[in-house]
C-alpha cells in the first residue's frame, strides 16, 4: 500500500469539512462532491477540487455508488473517504472502490459485511467472552411474533443494516408489533436499502457507552477510551462526552479490553467504535460502528489524537505506532449536536433557508460546522448542521464553556436543538453525571419565558408596525403592481 495522495470525499456537511481539514494537515489533495443544493457549502469551497452530482435526492448524489467511484477515477483520486451515514458502512461501496483500484478509507468490504450483520457481530463478541443482550437473527414478521413471546415485551426492533440510531423501534406490547415492524422495515428500506430487521431485549434505563478503537493492517489494536452517549431521543444521540462520568476505573478498563477483543475477533481495520449498554457495573456489547463517528471529537479532545488523520494514515498502509500504554487522557470534553429540529415541537425536522449565522469560538471550544448563510436545509438529508465541542481540565469547566458557546451560537432560518442543550446543561442529573438513556424524556420545553417575552412581543409588534416592509411572498408582487397602477392613474 502507498500513502494516500488524492482523496475523494463521498459526503457532505460538517464531516466533509472535517475530512478536508485532515487532508490539509497531511498534505493530501481533497476532492469534494456536491448535490446542487450544496453548491455553496463550505466543503465545496474548501476542497482543492469540487465535482457536481446530478440531483439532490440521496440516490442521485451521496448514495450514487457507481457515479462516486467513476468521479474518483476521473479526478485521479487514489482513495475515497465515505464519512458517516450514506455509503460509509456499505460493503458494496468498499468492494467497488477496491475493484476500481481505490483505497476505501475504512475497514475492507469483508470486515464491513461482518460488522454490518448485527447478529453476526454479536455472535463474534459472545465467542470471545464479551457479554451481549438476548436477541434474534434477521426475522420475518411471523418469526418475529414467535420470537417476541420468548424475549418478552417491551423489546426493540432493529434494522440489520442499520446504524446511527435509524431503524430502531421500541415495542411495548404484542398488539403494537405489526405496525412497528411495518414502520421499521419502511425506514430500514429507505435509509439502508435493506428491509431486514431483528429483535433485541430492551433494558429499562441503561447507559450508552462506546469505546473508540484503532487497528492497523497487521492486526495491532489499541483503544482510546470510552464516550458516554446516553442523551438520546428516538435513538438519536444529542450530547456525548468523554470520559463517561460515574464509571468505575475497573469497569472502564474492562470496557476497553472488551472493545479490543471484539475488534480482534472481527479482524477490524482502521478507526471504529464498539457500542455497549451499561446497567450498573454490567455491560453488554450491542454493535460495531465501522466508520468515523459524529462524536469522535470528544475523544480527540481528551486524547490529543487526530482520528481522521489516523484513518487516512492507516488506510495508506502505515503501522499503528502507538501502544496501549502510550494512550493518555486529559480533562473532559462534551459535544452538543446542533440539528435542524424543533425541540419545542417533538423534535420535528425544521426546514428553511439559513438567513443569518454567527458561530462560537474561544478557549476550549471547537465547532465542526457545515453551515453557511443561504443554505437551504433540505428534507433529503440528515438534520445535523454542526457540532459544538467543549474541552476543559475538569468536567465543570467544560460544562461552563459549553454553556458560554451555545449562548454565542446564532442560527437564523431554522429551529435548532440549542434550546434543548441549554436546558440539559442545567439539569442537576446531567451536572452530576448521573443520567441514563431516559434523560431526554424529561425535557419539558424549558419552561415559559418570563416578563421578557411580554416585553419582546409588545416591542416586536410596535417595531413591525413602524417599519414598512415589502411582503416577501408571491402575493407581494401583485400588490406592488396594483399600487403602481393606482399611482399612475
Amino acid at each position: 500500500m502507498r500513502p494516500i495522495r488524492r482523496l475523494l470525499i463521498a459526503n457532505r456537511g460538517e464531516i466533509a469539512v472535517r475530512v478536508v481539514r485532515a487532508c490539509r494537515d497531511l498534505g493530501i489533495a481533497s476532492v469534494a462532491v456536491y448535490a446542487p443544493v450544496d453548491a455553496d457549502a463550505p466543503h465545496v469551497r474548501m476542497a482543492d477540487v469540487a465535482l457536481p452530482l446530478p440531483g439532490d435526492a440521496p440516490a442521485d448524489s451521496y448514495l450514487n455508488l457507481p457515479l462516486l467511484v467513476e468521479l474518483a477515477r476521473r479526478a485521479g483520486a487514489d482513495a475515497v473517504h465515505p464519512g458517516y451515514g450514506f455509503l460509509a458502512e456499505n460493503p458494496a461501496f468498499a468492494a467497488a472502490c477496491e475493484a476500481a483500484g481505490l483505497v476505501f478509507v475504512g475497514p475492507p468490504s469483508a470486515v464491513l459485511a461482518r460488522c454490518g450483520d448485527k447478529a453476526a457481530a454479536r455472535d463474534a463478541a459472545r465467542a470471545v467472552g464479551v457479554p451481549v443482550l438476548a436477541g434474534t437473527g434477521p426475522v420475518t414478521d411471523d418469526e418475529a411474533a414467535r420470537a417476541a413471546t420468548t424475549l418478552g415485551f417491551p423489546l426493540l426492533i432493529k434494522a440489520v443494516g442499520g446504524g446511527g440510531g435509524k431503524g430502531i423501534h421500541p415495542v411495548a406490547a404484542p398488539d403494537a408489533l405489526p405496525a412497528a415492524l411495518r414502520l421499521a422495515r419502511g425506514e430500514a428500506q429507505a435509509a439502508f436499502g435493506d428491509p431486514r430487521v431483528y429483535l433485541e431485549r430492551w433494558l429499562p434505563a441503561p447507559r450508552h457507552v462506546e469505546v473508540q478503537v484503532l487497528a492497523d493492517a497487521a492486526g495491532h489494536v489499541v483503544h482510546l477510551g470510552e464516550r458516554a452517549c446516553s442523551v438520546q431521543r428516538r435513538h438519536q444521540k444529542l450530547i456525548e462526552e468523554a470520559p463517561a462520568p460515574g464509571v468505575a476505573p475497573a469497569v472502564r478498563a474492562a470496557l476497553g479490553e472488551a472493545a479490543v477483543a471484539v475488534a480482534r475477533a472481527l479482524d477490524y481495520r482502521g478507526a471504529g467504535t464498539m457500542e455497549f449498554l451499561l446497567e450498573g457495573d454490567r455491560f453488554y456489547f450491542i454493535e460495531v460502528n465501522a466508520r468515523i463517528q459524529v462524536e469522535h471529537p470528544v475523544t480527540e479532545a481528551v486524547t490529543g489524537c487526530d482520528l481522521v488523520a489516523w484513518q487516512l494514515r492507516l488506510a495508506g498502509g502505515e503501522p499503528l505506532d502507538i501502544r496501549q500504554a502510550d494512550v493518555t487522557w486529559q480533562g473532559a470534553a462534551l459535544e452538543c449536536r446542533i440539528s435542524a429540529e424543533d425541540p419545542h415541537a417533538q423534535f420535528l425536522p425544521s426546514l428553511g433557508v439559513i438567513d443569518g449565522l454567527a458561530e462560537p469560538a474561544g478557549p476550549g471550544i471547537r465547532v465542526d460546522s457545515g453551515l453557511w448563510v443561504g443554505q437551504r436545509v433540505s428534507r433529503h438529508y440528515d438534520p445535523l448542521l454542526s457540532k459544538v465541542v467543549a474541552w476543559g481540565p475538569t468536567r465543570e469547566v467544560a460544562l461552563a464553556r459549553m454553556r458560554r458557546a451555545l449562548r454565542e451560537y446564532y442560527i437564523s432560518g431554522v429551529d435548532t436543538t440549542i434550546p434543548f442543550h441549554l436546558w440539559a446543561l442545567d439539569q442537576p442529573a446531567f451536572r452530576a453525571g448521573a443520567y441514563d438513556v431516559r434523560f431526554a424524556e424529561r425535557w419539558d420545553g424549558g419552561g415559559v419565558p418570563d416578563d421578557t417575552a411580554v416585553l419582546a412581543a409588545a416591542a416586536w409588534f410596535f417595531h413591525r408596525l413602524r417599519t414598512p416592509r415589502l411582503p416577501a411572498d408571491g402575493a407581494g408582487a401583485r400588490w406592488t403592481a396594483a399600487a403602481r397602477t393606482e399611482a399612475l392613474r
Binding site: E187, L348, L357, R407, P419, A453
Partner: protein, 175 residues
C-alpha cells in the same frame, strides 16, 4: 398605542410609545425604556430593557410571535387593543370538519384510509417521510374520512392539509 399581549393564557395590556431612541413601554404600572434591534438574520433580536440586554429569537406566527429565550419558548398572541372588543363567535357547525395537516414538509409514503372509512382518534391517516424518518400522522379525533387530499409519492409542505375528517354523525344518520 395600546397592545394586548397574551402569554400562557394570561392577557396583559401594554402601552407602547415611540421615544427618540426606541420606545417606552408601560406595563403593570412600570415605565421601561425598551429597544429592539435586529442581531443575526431574521430571527435573532437584541432586546434592551432599561439597559439590560438580552438575546431573543422572534419568529412571526399566527396572530403573534413565537418568542424563545434560552431554553424556553412561548407562543405569544399580540394585537392592538380595540376600544370595543371584537365579536368573533365561531360557527359551531364548522367545527365538525377537522383538517389533518402535515407536521413537517416531506414526502407522503401512504394514506392508509379511503374516503368514507371510519377512523378512531390516534389512528394513522397518513405516513410522511422527511430526513429519513417516517412518521405516522394520527387523527386528532374519531370520525369518518371526508377527503384525502394527497397521494403517496407526493411532496407536501409543512401544515399542508392531508386529510379532512368529519367528526359529526355520518351523512344520512340521525335525520
Amino acid at each position: 398605542m395600546i397592545v394586548a399581549v397574551t402569554l400562557a393564557g394570561r392577557q396583559h395590556t401594554v402601552a407602547v410609545e415611540e421615544d427618540a431612541d426606541g420606545m417606552v413601554v408601560t406595563w403593570n404600572g412600570a415605565r421601561r425604556r425598551v429597544r429592539l434591534a435586529p442581531l443575526v438574520g431574521s430571527a435573532w433580536w437584541r432586546l434592551d430593557v432599561d439597559g439590560q440586554r438580552c438575546d431573543v429569537r422572534l419568529q412571526p406566527s399566527d396572530g403573534g410571535v413565537r418568542v424563545t429565550v434560552g431554553a424556553a419558548r412561548a407562543e405569544v398572541l399580540v394585537r392592538r387593543a380595540l376600544p370595543v372588543p371584537s365579536r368573533q363567535a365561531r360557527d359551531p357547525a364548522a367545527a365538525r370538519a377537522v383538517e389533518v395537516r402535515a407536521p413537517m414538509p416531506g414526502l407522503v409514503v401512504a394514506t392508509p384510509l379511503a374516503v368514507g372509512q371510519p377512523v378512531a382518534a390516534g389512528q394513522a391517516v397518513a405516513i410522511v417521510e422527511a430526513m429519513k424518518m417516517q412518521m405516522e400522522v394520527p387523527a386528532p379525533a374519531s370520525g369518518r374520512i371526508a377527503e384525502v387530499r394527497v397521494r403517496p409519492g407526493q411532496e407536501v409542505a409543512g401544515a399542508q392539509v392531508l386529510v379532512v375528517l368529519h367528526t359529526g354523525p355520518a351523512p344520512g344518520e340521525g335525520r
